[in-house]
């Protein structure tokens, strides 16, 4: 499907964009230290590095968002100074950001129109949008409002918007973090096609297997410096990781069998109408999560995972109290606070704005989920030292890196904020933990810490339910995996039986329960 063969580059070729000795100082801190990078047409160039390695800074300089303190950029051999993103776009540089810049209340087409500099009419642009999204296999309804879309669909808007500028160079920041394997494969087809169309691509990712599969060249940054430029196909994932981190990453420790027979979290025949017309209706969802096991829920974004999370957390009530049982108590009609008091903890998909109040301090964000049952509130008064000590403990246990003791949540990098958000719940030693996309947009090091923490928590007897679109992640940590499709949940498969192909079929909606039950049965017979 992919065509990894690109025409061999000769030394006479001129790079499309050349960064020479890019240095960026913030105060005395060198975010970028004399970085060289050459991007050629017909090439997918990977930019690898841990969070804080300087990838974002470098890319921002190449997109005109910031001015480098030293060094220069050359565009087709000619020295340029980018005055801003619109200047970059005018030259043919487009970028898809990791954090979406979309207006929730506007439609897909309106958002795309705002991002384009051209003067074409709205109707013409809408038609072109529909055409592009169809051509590249990125389906989008131009008239839908963004707030109704899943994260995966929102990302499609960003990609299509970038493509519609007909760029010569496309920069993608962690584009597959929110996609299913099939969606990612579709994206790779798109990227492959763009390469064959002669475009240069700069691909930022933490997923090393992806980079090995897709990219022609890789540049690795560590602590603001360039470590190496290499051909990723000639490297192993381990050797790339070593260059990124500067040491070997510990593998997540395999789980020993520790599941008990006590179901800590029970979802019993849960059906729920969506509260917005474009939402997904949950239909007859039943599953039990045992103490000591991790149940994974896979599925393409927008198949009811958000609705299921809201029903579990208590942000939405279930039709009957028996639909959800937490540690033996019927909880379907209990508030979020009451469920936390039963020993449940929740980590939503969106770190900023849902899991945390972005402009509030970490201590206040510790209080956000801790006020119910962590002794942080005494007779209505907040125990400030207790909230601060929660921040300190989370920082220490989960290696949250931050500029000061108690900064605003928004000032943390994605990976560090995620470690905080997950850590704050795990330190409460919950009986039930429901976590959605635990490592979305998080670097390899932080992801390993979070996954290990989930495994450790379950081995202490907690029932852990992980909703994730990352099949590798589920394969790594989940004991059983179920798939959500169109608001229904498949029978969970034991990890050993949950092959990528089988899950992929379920994610695509290939007949929900019967075949998988048959497959299970045949396996049982086979065993």
């Amino acid at each position: 499907m992919l065509n990894p063969i690109s025409a061999p580059r000769t030394s006479a070729d001129v790079p499309l964009l050349q960064a020479i000795g890019i240095t960026k100082l913030y105060g005395t801190f060198k975010a970028n230290d004399a970085i060289d990078l050459d991007l050629y047409p017909r090439e997918i160039h990977a930019l690898l590095g841990e969070n804080g390695a300087g990838k974002s800074t470098l890319v921002k300089a190449m997109y005109g968002l910031i001015q480098p303190s030293a060094g220069e950029l050359r565009w087709m051999g000619e020295k340029i100074e980018l005055t801003g993103p619109s200047d970059a776009r005018a030259r043919g540089i487009a970028m898809v950001f990791q954090h979406f810049s979309l207006f929730d209340n506007l439609t897909v087409a309106e958002n795309v129109a705002l991002g384009l500099d051209g003067k074409e009419s709205f109707a013409a642009m809408s038609a072109r949008l529909a055409q592009f999204s169809q051509d590249y296999g990125l389906p989008l309804d131009p008239k839908r409002e963004v707030w109704r879309l899943s994260v995966g669909e929102r990302q499609r808007i960003e990609i299509v918007r970038a493509l519609m500028q007909n760029p010569k160079l496309l920069i993608l920041d962690e584009p597959t973090a929110v996609l299913t394997p099939q969606e990612a494969d579709q994206l790779f087809v798109v990227l492959d096609r763009l390469r064959s169309e002669g475009k240069a691509l700069l691909y930022i990712s933490h997923k090393l297997d992806e980079v090995k599969r897709l990219c022609d060249t890789a540049t690795i940054l560590r602590a603001g410096k360039k470590v190496a430029t290499c051909n990723p196909r000639q490297e192993t994932a381990a050797s790339l990781a070593r260059m990124m981190v500067g040491a070997d990453i510990g593998e997540v420790k395999a789980t020993t069998v520790h599941a008990t027979t006590v179901p800590r979290l029970v979802i019993r025949d849960l059906s729920l109408e969506p509260d917005d017309p474009h939402g997904v209706r949950l239909q007859n969802i039943s599953v039990e999560v045992l103490g000591g096991e991790i149940l994974g829920i896979a599925g393409v974004a927008g198949n009811g995972q958000d609705e299921l999370f809201a029903a579990l957390s208590g942000e939405r009530f279930s039709p009957a109290e028996g639909n959800i049982v937490i540690d033996g108590e019927a909880a379907g009609l209990l508030s979020v606070t009451a469920r936390r008091k039963l020993g449940a903890a929740f980590v939503p998909e969106e770190r900023l704005g849902h899991g945390t109040a972005p402009r509030m301090r970490l201590s206040e964000n510790a209080l956000l989920t801790g006020h119910a049952a962590s002794g942080m509130v005494k007779r209505g008064f907040i125990d400030r030292p207790a909230t601060l000590s929660m921040v300190d403990r989370t920082t220490k246990t989960f290696d949250v890196r931050k500029a000061k003791r108690d900064p605003e949540a928004v000032s943390l990098s994605g990976g560090n904020l995620q470690k905080f958000v997950v850590g704050r719940e795990i330190l409460r030693e919950p009986i039930v933990l429901v976590v959605s996309q635990p490592t979305w947009g998080v670097d390899a090091g932080a992801a390993a810490v979070i996954r290990q923490a989930l495994i450790d928590l379950s081995s202490r007897g907690t029932a852990v339910l992980v909703i994730s679109q990352d099949l590798d992640e589920l394969a790594e940590i989940a004991d059983r995996i179920a798939v959500m499709f169109h608001g229904r949940l498949s029978e969970p498969l034991p990890r050993a039986q949950a092959t990528r192909e089988k899950l992929g079929l379920l994610m695509g909606g290939a007949s929900a329960s019967q075949p998988s039950a048959q497959i299970e049965r045949s396996h049982a017979v086979g065993a």
């Binding site: 100074e81 801003g84 005018a90 939503p348 849902h354 109040a357 209080l367 907040i382 605003e408």
Partner: protein, 363 residues
Amino acid sequence: MQLVLERRAERSAFIAIASPLIAIALTLVTMAALFALLGKNPLYALYVYFIQPLTDSYTLQEIAVKATPLVMIGVGLSLCYIANVWNIGAEGQFTIGAVCGSWLAVHTNGSGAGYWVLPAMLLLGAVGGALYALIPALCKVRFGASEILTSLMLVYVADLFMDYLVRGPWRDPHGLNFPTTADFDPVATVPTLIEGSRLHAGAIGALIFVMLATVMLGRTIKGFEIRVVGAAPRAARFSGFNSNQLVIFTFLVSGALAGLAGIIEVAGPIGHLQPGISPGYGFTAIIVAFLGRLNPVGILIAGLFLALTFIGGEGAQISLKVPLDLTKVFQGILLFYVLACDSLIVYRIRLISTLRKPAHGIA
């Protein structure tokens, strides 16, 4: 050159304090220009407006008298505004509070009732204001009606209702047909703090509410709830806070404070119920709340400052022969600058050179 607003990584603590001062400075410059256009000496006019009232003990006391309702209402409104709840109708809640408390004063007038009358009046005023504020709150929660419109419109209902009472059933029979109730009995009057002055015990009440609000916002889970609902509604819901309940709570509290301010004003400096008990305290308190950065102590300072503009405006009317409405112009300009300067807390202004045009310029 080009001015751009650039988002700050963290909100600037310095600008948070400096922003109201910058706003005041800009307002003074604008006002000076306005005075110059009116043919007055700008410096002298500003002196009359802002310095002269501070040089006299009578006007100083009057400033405190005027600041009392502004601060009480402003503190209540700030709770609403922090929670992103828009109570614009404090003027109406003020009036209804005054009416409810006055009911007792009018009906015990001359009956020789004991000292229980004033506390009962204050209670009635607070409850009346709270219940009147409950109307827009329930309309919002139940029907999704914009509380901005409903609370504002109820101001005029309250105004006309009071007008009816003082011209009709409650009119003083010995009042020469003036639309006013009889003067309240001493037991129905807020005691003064200084003999022969208009400065009354309500000023102390305002200080107490400033302290209570400071403690509540900074130290209690209720205050935290108010702040989270305003700052990040989805996170607040995830946290287990019910935003509908909070709409009702903040409206009740701000209505109670406005109603209490109303009855204190009527039972204090005025001494009877009549039309025009408020020079727009309920609206000016909105400016006070924002000028005070929605912070109780800031509101105390802002309340004193805006009270100064009321007093200074009266002085300017006499010695400069400028219309009293200039005070409202001043307050409007001030609110405009306050809101504008607030954006500097989260954003910084940067000058960007646009001299370097792209090579193939857009022309």
